[in-house]
């Protein structure tokens, strides 16, 4: 049996940043979901995944950039074999391929996804503008619940350019499912989704 590398990593993340989940507007559930969160550090994917109850983790796949996780070595092994990361091509080598296709396939298979709609790390307390992928997926998969998530303090643990994370207590706040409004424009939807994450940032519970 191959050695599992993820459990010690999760333990390490817990020790460093706590990663305490707060379910503010929704409860843990096996319903198919897209968790969308602010992206402020390299630890986000691991920490959000670790904050989910163990029973939901196997069925929840983080979406991450191939140019970061797919470089081979231990990182790729963890991403593919243990986290089951859905790789997304940021480089877009083949202009005809839709980068969202692997996400669609995963959703068709019934997986829940963890998505960082900013597309890149933004080591600030509040998220930057969202990319359109979340909108298209929300349209195409109307039965999937959209759960806003705010990762608190992680940007303070590991500011840009830092090599070592500083231990600090981080909470992961899960909000109420984002409603879909009929006829809403792409821009309006994305700014509403971003506002839902920002609202969690201000919720100090």
């Amino acid at each position: 049996m191959p050695i599992k590398l993820l459990p010690p990593l999760v333990l390490l993340a817990r020790l460093l940043v706590g990663a305490y989940p707060r379910w503010l507007g929704s409860a843990p559930s096996a319903n198919q979901r897209i968790y969308f969160a602010n992206h402020s550090s390299h630890m986000d994917t691991l920490v959000l995944w670790a904050a989910l109850p163990g029973s939901l983790r196997a069925n929840t796949r983080p979406v991450a950039a191939r140019d970061y996780w797919g470089k081979g070595g231990i990182r790729q092994r963890i991403a593919e074999e243990e986290l089951h990361v859905v790789m997304i091509d940021r480089a877009r080598d083949d202009p005809a391929a839709d980068p969202l296709d692997p996400l669609r396939a995963a959703l068709h298979h019934g997986y829940s996804l963890i998505l960082f709609p900013e597309g890149t790390r933004n080591p600030q307390p509040l998220p930057g503008p969202f990319k359109a992928g979340l909108y298209f997926l929300a349209q195409e998969f109307p039965q999937v619940e959209l759960i806003p998530v705010y990762l608190d303090n992680l940007h303070r643990s590991m500011p840009k350019g830092a090599l070592l994370p500083v231990p600090i207590i981080c909470t992961i706040r899960f909000g109420a499912p984002l409603a879909r409004l009929a006829g809403e424009s792409k821009e309006a939807f994305l700014s509403r989704a971003r506002a839902a994450v920002i609202e969690l940032a201000e919720d100090r519970r």
Binding site: G18, Y20, A162, L164, V166, P167, I168, I169, T171
Partner: protein, 318 residues
């Protein structure tokens, strides 16, 4: 009759387990037969602290079974969690990163290695002198001068409270006292019991005779804190046979521990309030976040005071 070292350890451990088991059972019984919501809140507070007391049994049993190094590791972890909590409460900037990296990954291990090695001359001055002088240099090199002194002070304060002060608790076990060889762990246990009993008795007395709630801690009243302190000092005096002290010396030292511990809770409550800690964030919901700073407040003030007094008056050679 003089008990052997092992017999004393076992007798004390059994006594402590019985004491906390009785308290736990009593607390559960009180909780089940009270319906008054105000009283129930008090009893709830008390039970929470009784549950916390079991940690002392664990710490002591571990120290007894595995020796002083294991104790040092336990307190090092406690310091780590306390500092992590302190940093989470403190507004830090990204330019403080290196100072914090040093605080967590260098200062904590070095301080506890010095304690484990018994190098008193080093662990007494490492943080207050060397780290105190080094950290501002590291932070000055970043050329970020906004609120510089304030930021340096906060990191130093966090280190003093959660690392320097707390590390003096395991150091108590290593004080060498003539005629008391090998009984350091007992002295540490006596110290922890006095601290914990003063907390428990203060909350219990506040529940029974509470008139004016303390502003720093609504779970205690002025009368309760005073009564609990006196009662804990009395308990410490009655347990004088665990220590190298005579009964009246034990009474004075227990009084010093209780007083310093009370000041610790007072000061840490102000620190948390000034940093804008949310009550519910500290108290409920987040399991580990509640523990560290909140539980160590009394220990962190009482440990260095008790350590110094004991070394000064009783220490043979360090």
């Amino acid at each position: 009759m003089q008990l052997s070292l092992h017999e004393t350890f076992f007798a004390v451990l059994t006594g402590v387990v019985l004491l906390f088991a009785t308290a736990t059972a009593l607390g559960a019984w009180l909780e089940s037969r009270t319906s008054d919501t105000v009283k129930l809140a008090w009893i709830h507070q008390l039970n929470q602290r009784i549950r916390g007391s079991w940690a002392i049994v664990g710490v002591f049993a571990l120290g007894f079974a595995l020796g002083g190094e294991a104790l040092t590791v336990v307190f090092a972890l406690a310091s780590f969690f306390a500092l992590r909590e302190f940093v989470a409460l403190t507004p830090i900037r990204s330019s403080d990163h290196w100072a914090l990296v040093i605080a967590f990954y260098l200062v904590i291990p070095v301080q506890y290695i010095l304690v484990a090695g018994g190098w008193y001359g080093w662990y007494a001055v490492f943080i207050p002198v060397y780290v105190f002088l080094l950290l501002p240099v590291v932070m000055a090199l970043r050329q970020d001068n906004e609120r510089y002194l304030e930021r340096v002070a906060k990191v130093q304060w966090g280190l003093m409270i959660s690392v320097y002060c707390v590390s003096h608790a395991p150091a108590i076990a290593s004080i060498e006292i003539a005629g008391h060889e090998g009984r350091g762990a007992l002295l540490l246990l006596w110290f922890l019991l006095v601290v914990q009993l003063s907390e428990l008795l203060a909350v219990a007395a506040s529940a029974s005779f509470g008139r004016t709630p303390l502003r720093s801690n609504p779970a205690k009243s002025r009368e309760g804190a005073l009564l609990g302190g006196v009662a804990a000092t009395a308990c410490g005096t009655l347990m004088w046979w665990m220590t190298p002290f005579g009964w009246w010396q034990a009474a004075l030292l227990a009084g010093a521990i209780v007083t310093a511990g009370f000041m610790g809770t007072l000061v840490l409550a102000s620190v948390k309030a000034s940093l804008g800690a949310r009550d519910q964030w500290m108290e409920g919901g987040v399991p580990l976040a509640r523990g560290a700073l909140g539980r160590l407040d009394a220990v962190s003030f009482a440990a260095p005071v008790f350590f110094h007094l004991t070394v000064y008056f009783y220490g043979s050679a360090l």
